[in-house]
């Protein structure tokens, strides 16, 4: 069964409920990121802040196919995936605000969202550096003969980094239960794909690693879900890795310091892509299938906006970490067995 074949028929109630949930998740990311951008402008959020606006269907579609005991590692553009995986909007916003109630106790910030209890093992800040970590998690799963899956998100700019090649090669040799998800949003910061990558059909790289591959329209939630479903099936025992190239588009700048289009892309190009807004496309589909009405969407949006406002208020009022936290968590608190 894939999500696509099922969706082409009249969806049952349970499925309709799920589809509405996915819409809510995408809306939550959109409204959350808009609010984060606003908070950044007000100086409530510091450092770097990379928004996920335009790419919502990738995170929602991929994570929808996972089990609670699977693992995720991702990039510094991690707020959306953290929310979908189940970290509360309060904990994510508080982390952005650097507060003790944040999901990483205010020590990680925008780029380092963690919740080990959800298998969400980090936003990572070095392009490509986290791809071998996913291979290592996959290695551990295989070592323990489990049927979990290790999922790794990265941008298309990471594929020219040695870490990508080294990790995928080992995943290929050892048949690790890994799904490598390349979110191809066409620009590595301001460098267009065709200026950075000799063979820009990214998924073809999988051939070098004896790995399954798919190219996916990342603005179409159903397509993302279907491709991810197939990848998950391959990754569960007996394990085989997959490289998914999910083509998407970043509707906003690389980070908060980058304007929406800048020098590297035109306003017209951004406008053209905005017409394929994954949220609008999904809303249209759900309306056409009779799963949701315009009024219900408006209500849902209101709820989401309220949730985000609550997260903002919570984060704003939350406490900074105590100064003692400065030196905590550098090393393990108890050195079991080391004789110390």
């Amino acid at each position: 069964m894939t999500a696509s074949t099922k969706a082409s028929r009249k969806p049952d109630t349970k499925l309709a409920e799920k589809y509405r949930l996915y819409l809510r998740q995408m809306l939550l990311i959109r409204r959350f990121e808009e609010k984060a951008g606003e908070a950044y402008s007000l100086g409530k959020i510091g450092g770097f802040c990379h928004l996920y606006i335009g790419q919502e269907a990738v995170g929602v579609g991929c994570l929808s196919q996972l089990r609670p005991d699977d693992y995720i590692v991702t990039t510094y553009r991690d707020h959306g995936q953290a929310l979908v995986r189940g970290i509360s909007s309060r904990a994510v916003m508080a982390e952005l605000f650097g507060k003790a109630a944040g999901c990483s106790k205010g020590k990680g910030g925008s780029m380092h969202m963690f919740d080990a209890s959800l298998g969400f093992l980090g936003g990572h800040g070095i392009v490509g550096g986290h791809i071998p970590l996913a291979a290592g998690i996959g290695f551990a799963i295989k070592y323990r003969a489990k049927d979990q899956v290790a999922v790794c998100f990265f941008g298309e700019a990471a594929i020219n980094n040695g870490a990508f090649h080294e990790a995928l090669n080992m995943a290929g040799i050892w048949k690790l239960p890994c799904i490598f998800i390349c979110e191809n949003n066409r620009y590595g910061m301001g460098t267009a794909l065709d200026r950075a990558t000799a063979t820009w059909n990214i998924s073809e790289r999988a051939a070098s690693y004896d790995m399954s591959r798919e190219v996916v329209d990342g603005q179409d939630l159903l397509e993302v879900m279907a491709a991810m479903d197939r990848a998950v099936v391959r990754a569960r025992r007996p394990a085989a890795p997959t490289l998914l190239e999910i083509r998407t588009y970043r509707f906003v700048g690389h980070s908060m310091s980058d304007p929406i289009h800048g020098h590297y892309r035109t306003k017209e190009e951004v406008e053209a892509h905005r017409k394929r807004d994954p949220i609008l496309l999904w809303q249209e589909k759900l309306k056409a299938d009779g799963i949701i009405t315009e009024e219900q969407i408006a209500t849902m949006d209101k709820e989401v906006v309220a949730e985000v406002q609550d997260a903002y208020d919570f984060a704003d009022a939350a406490e900074d970490p105590e100064l003692e936290e400065l030196y905590a968590d550098v090393y393990a608190p108890v050195q079991a067995g080391s004789g110390e």
């Binding site: 693992y71 093992l121 980090g122 990572h124 071998p132 090649h165 968590d329 090393y331 004789g339 110390e340």
Partner: protein, 328 residues
């Protein structure tokens, strides 16, 4: 007590830890079928099988990251670098992943991993194969840096390193693998972060680690003939640094020379000297001097190489200066 080489003491530690804990595995280049580039992992593939003794491609960044990822979900990887020179390709995983994970996750995700392999110069291996990077790694909060000088220390410290919950940079002496010494059998661990007085003395403290321990001991022997009694302190762990042991010794001898194989600039000795001048300045009867490798890439030529390396004569010269017994 049985006499073992440093190499076999490490092998024994690996074997015992892998027998003790099924989550411990060994990964690296040539660790399995080839039996280890320096034969430290001899026989382990046969005993533990290919799932736990894992040969990798030549892909240091990749397999260091695989180790970190596996450790993040609870395994206890031992990652062997064929030498620490090659580990430079992997340094992002040590510095940005292993050392940072616990902190940036707010304490949620630890990385119990050992990165190990030979360090320092051997004989005429030239610039890219003759380096000591301990001060570089010791600069990084989140890492621990362990460097055993004797077979017994090698066993005791490696076993503790495997059981430690933090990422450990474990540097073995490339020239120490054939050194023999008595090694306790079975369960034998040494605390990380504790220095060892390898020779007690009264007049001057020689602070050293790894390969320079033997050099300092040789210098101490030469000095003894002239009536100078040197205390040799083997740091064993660079980070955390056992400053208490250093201060206690300097409090007794009032003079100190720090010896290390690496380069002088921002080296381990620089940290030791800083600690001494801040904490026990009043104990000093002379400046603390450092004996280090020459501040150059290692030359291939034998004569130049000898000139670049630390030796006992250089240590003796430094001691004569701090004890004001120099001839010139």
């Amino acid at each position: 007590m049985p006499t073992l080489t440093y190499r076999d003491a490490l092998n024994q530690a690996l074997r015992e830890e892998m027998q003790r804990d099924p989550d411990v595995f060994l990964m690296g280049e040539e660790v399995g079928v080839y039996q280890g580039a320096y034969k430290v992992s001899r026989g382990l593939l046969e005993e533990f099988g290919p799932n736990r003794v894992v040969d990798t491609p030549i892909t240091e960044l990749g397999f260091a990251g695989v180790g970190v990822g596996a450790a993040m979900v609870g395994l206890r990887p031992i990652i062997e670098f064929m030498t620490w020179n090659f580990a430079l390709l992997a340094i992002d995983q040590l510095v940005n992943s292993a050392a940072k994970m616990r902190y940036m996750s707010g304490g949620q995700v630890g990385v119990p991993i050992v990165f190990r392999g030979p360090s320092g110069s051997a004989l005429q291996l030239a610039a890219q194969h003759s380096q000591s990077f301990e001060s570089m790694y010791a600069n990084i909060p989140g890492l621990k840096v362990v460097m055993p000088a004797t077979p017994a220390d090698a066993k005791g410290l490696l076993k503790s390193a495997v059981r430690d919950d933090d990422p450990i940079v474990f540097m073995e002496g490339e020239m120490l693998y054939n050194v023999k010494g008595e090694v306790p059998e079975g369960e034998y661990t040494l605390p990380i972060g504790v220095a060892d007085i390898k020779r007690p003395g009264e007049h001057v403290t020689l602070v050293c680690h790894a390969k320079t321990v033997a050099i300092a001991l040789k210098a101490a022997q030469q000095l003894e003939a002239d009536g100078i009694s040197a205390e040799v302190i083997d740091l064993r762990t660079i980070r955390p640094l056992d400053t208490a042991a250093i201060f206690e010794s300097v409090g007794k001898t009032h003079r100190c020379v720090v010896v290390e194989e690496g380069w002088p600039f921002a080296g381990v000795g620089a940290q030791v000297v800083d600690e001494i001048q801040r904490e026990v300045f009043d104990e000093l009867d002379g400046p603390v001097l450092r004996v280090t490798g020459a501040d150059v890439p290692m030359p291939y030529n034998k004569r130049l190489e000898k000139a670049a390396k630390v030796d006992a004569d250089k240590v003796v010269d430094a001691v004569r200066k701090v004890t004001y017994t120099a001839n010139s």
